[in-house]
Symmetry: C2
Subunit: 282 residues, 2 copies
C-alpha cells in the first residue's frame, strides 16, 4: 500500500491511475478503523481496479466543545488493517493540505442537513460536505463508499454530489454490528465496561420499533416512544433524538405509510452514539 | 458548432473530448454576448484543443428585485458570434438541468464575497459560485476563462476552485472597452442615449484615480473621492461603491503601498454598471 502524505504525491498517484485507465474507488475516513470501515474497503476492492482510502480527522466538522482533540488516532493499526484489506493507497493529508491559509469556501446542503445531527451539532454537516468535496476533487474517484450507520451523512453527501453534478457514484453500505447489535463506531472506544453494556440498548430500541412497525403501527410518535422507552429503561437519559422519518428527505411523517427510517442519537457514558434502521413490513 | 441542450448531450461531448485526449477550455456566460466575451473564446481557442461555451441566465444569482426577467436574451446572434469565434460546442441548459427538483446545495465563498457587490447584492456570489461549481463539474474543463471586468467575481471563482481543489485553471482576461472607454457589458443594452453618454464617466473616474496614484497619492480615501467626483460631475448620483482595495483580498487598505484595484458600482439610467482598474506607478 502506498502512503501519500502530500497533495503532490496524491496527484501523481491519481494521474497514474487515470492514465492506466483504472476505475478508482475511494473510502474517506477519520481513521480509528473498525470492521465497518473494512467492509467498505472490501466492497471497493470488488467494484474497482484501484482502491484508495484517506485518513483525516477533519477539524471543521467538530464543534468547539466536541471531541476533536481526543478523537482516537490509531494510525499504525489502521495501516495494517488496510494492507490486509487490499487497499492500494492511503492519503494522509495534514490540516494545511486541506485548508491552506486563506481558505474560505464552504459547501452547505440545505434541508437535509438542518435537522437531527445538524441541529445538535451546528456546522457539522457543512464541515463534512466541505471536506468531502475537497477530497473528491483531489482523488477524483469513480465511486466513493460510506457506511449507512451515519445515515444522515450519507444522504447529505449523496445530495451534494447530485446537486453539484460531481462525476462519481456514492454508495452506502450496511452497518456492521458487534455480537450484541451495537453498531461499530470509532467512538465505541470511549465506552467503559458499564457504558458498553448500556450501549447495546440502541440496537434493541431500533429492534423494538421494527417489531411494532411490523405489527402494524404507523404512528411515528408511537414508534419513537417505544424506542425511547428501551433507552431510558437501560439508563440512557441524555437522548439527542429518537425520530422516525422519511428515508429520502428525513422529513417528519404524519403516518408511516412509506417505510420510515428510525434514527437515534444518544449519549452513553462520555460517547455520543448514533444508529438507525429502516423499518420494513415483513 | 455543436448545440448541447441536455446534460446527456453534454456528457457525451465531454466524454468524447476526454477519450480523444483533448485539452478542453470552457467559457461560461449568461449570453447577450459582446466583444468582451468573444475575446475569452479567442484566447480559449489559442490555449485549448476544444472550446465549449455555455449560456445560462442563472436565476440564483439575481436578487428578487433585480433584472433576471429582463436580462437580455439574444440567442441567435450569440450562436452566430460563437460560430465565427471558432467555438466547438455550446451548452444551453434549462433551469431544471442545473437545479433539478429538490436541489439544495450551495457553495459559499467567505470574506472575498461579503463586501462590495456581495453587500449590495445579497446572495449574488453564492448563486455565482454554486452555478459555476455545477458547470465546472459537468464540463470538467482544464481551463476556464472569465473577464476581469467582473473583478470580484473572478477572485471569488478562483478562490472557490483553489479552496475546493477543483482540477482546473481559472484565467482572467482584460476588460474590453468601447471607443470612449465604457467597459463592454450585456447590461449596456439597458442604456438610452443620455445614459450611454453618462456611462463613460466610470472609465474617466478610474483614469483620474490612476493619474492621482501615479502622481504619488497613496491615501485610498483620496483616490476614492477623486473617482467619485468624476461620477457626480457627470450626473451619476446613485453610486453603490467606489473603493480602492487590496487586489488579492479586496480588503480595505490603510495606505496603498501595494498597487490597489479601484472598483466602482453605480447606476446609470436603469443599468447597474461595474468597472475596475488596477492602479500602477508608471
Amino acid at each position: 500500500m502506498e502512503l501519500l502524505t502530500t497533495r503532490q504525491a496524491l496527484d501523481q498517484w491519481v494521474e497514474d491511475a487515470y492514465r492506466a485507465g483504472h476505475r478508482v474507488g475511494f473510502v474517506p475516513t477519520m481513521g480509528a478503523l473498525h470492521a465497518g470501515h473494512i467492509s467498505l474497503f472490501q466492497t471497493a476492492r470488488q467494484g474497482c481496479d484501484r482502491v484508495i482510502g484517506s485518513i483525516f480527522v477533519n477539524p471543521t466538522q467538530f464543534g468547539p466543545n466536541e471531541d476533536f482533540q481526543r478523537y482516537p488516532r490509531t494510525l499504525e493499526q489502521d495501516q495494517s488493517l488496510l494492507e490486509q484489506a487490499g487497499c492500494h493507497a492511503l492519503f494522509l493529508p495534514a490540516v494545511v493540505d486541506i485548508y491552506p491559509e486563506g481558505h474560505q469556501t464552504r459547501v452547505q446542503v440545505g434541508a437535509l442537513a438542518e435537522d437531527l445531527c445538524g441541529r445538535c451539532r451546528p456546522g457539522h454537516f457543512q464541515g463534512v460536505a466541505t471536506v468531502v468535496a475537497i477530497l473528491f476533487n483531489l482523488v477524483r474517484p469513480r465511486v466513493a463508499y460510506f457506511g449507512l450507520k451515519d445515515y444522515q451523512q450519507f444522504l447529505v453527501i449523496r445530495r451534494m454530489v447530485d446537486d453539484l453534478a460531481m462525476p462519481l457514484k456514492v454508495v452506502g453500505l450496511p452497518t456492521v454490528r458487534e455480537a450484541d447489535g451495537l453498531a461499530m463506531s470509532s467512538r465505541n472506544r470511549y465506552l467503559d465496561e458499564h457504558a458498553r453494556a448500556q450501549a447495546a440498548a440502541l440496537f434493541r430500541a431500533l429492534k423494538r420499533a421494527q417489531e411494532l412497525y411490523a405489527a402494524g403501527e404507523e404512528d411515528p410518535a408511537a414508534l419513537e416512544a417505544t424506542a425511547r422507552a428501551v433507552l431510558t429503561t437501560a439508563g440512557i437519559t441524555r437522548i439527542d433524538y429518537v425520530a422516525a422519518r422519511d428515508p429520502e428527505t428525513l422529513a417528519p411523517m404524519v403516518q408511516c405509510k412509506k417505510n420510515p427510517v428510525i434514527l437515534i442519537a444518544a449519549w452513553v457514558g462520555s460517547a455520543r452514539l448514533i444508529d438507525n434502521r429502516q423499518l420494513i413490513r415483513n
